[in-house]
Symmetry: C2
Subunit: 122 residues, 2 copies
């Protein structure tokens, strides 16, 4: 197998502008590395069979859980355990990196107007 | 299950100073999220059963492969496919974040003086 190439996140983020539409930028052990620009409130959902990792790249981001909000500054991360209801919230535009099991819908088991399938690979 | 707490990487990095001694800061789908401070050249190795994700937080970092060096600036990442020989190199102190399958030795299947087992969880 040939050696891999670096994933330059700044270039990937610069290549799109829409919100809540994750792009795949890499793969790791059967999981997809996704990035997204987000703004405002997402829909409540949970992922039945996968944890979900969030790393904030820029902006004023947080995740609401049923017991309250966890705020996340750039350079901070959180892992949402599978089965845990949550709702991402972005106060202004934020750039985030996520990990999800390969093929997992962005709204997990709770389809909404935010659901995106067949994600683009950058 | 109760909601998770943020992982504040800056606080985690501030809590240790030794090099090439990864700490576990979280878990995702059976993988460990690890951080390390590194400087100089690591030993050549490969991981038989796990990809390895690197994200550079700070410093002048790179990974040597048998076909050449890939340089990585802060905010850039790379996924080393399982079975691929590589050697991390840090020109001055760097801070890095990694993902490895749970329990994977930091030197994979090639033990060296850099091998660390029973990693501390921060």
């Amino acid at each position: 197998m040939s050696a891999p190439e670096p994933i330059i996140l700044a270039e990937k983020f610069a290549s799109f502008s829409d919100h809540w539409n994750p792009r795949i930028v890499g793969r790791y052990n059967g999981n997809e590395i996704r990035i997204a620009k987000v703004e405002g409130e997402f829909s409540w959902h949970a992922h039945a069979d996968t944890d979900e990792l969030f790393l904030v790249v820029s902006g004023d981001f947080g995740i609401e859980f049923r017991d309250g909000l966890r705020k996340l500054a750039p350079g901070e991360m959180i892992v949402v355990p599978k089965g845990t209801e949550h709702r991402p919230v972005a106060n202004g535009e934020c750039k985030i990196l996520m990990l999800d099991r390969e093929g997992e819908p962005n709204t997990g088991m709770h389809p909404s107007t935010y659901t995106r399938t067949a994600l683009e690979t950058l």
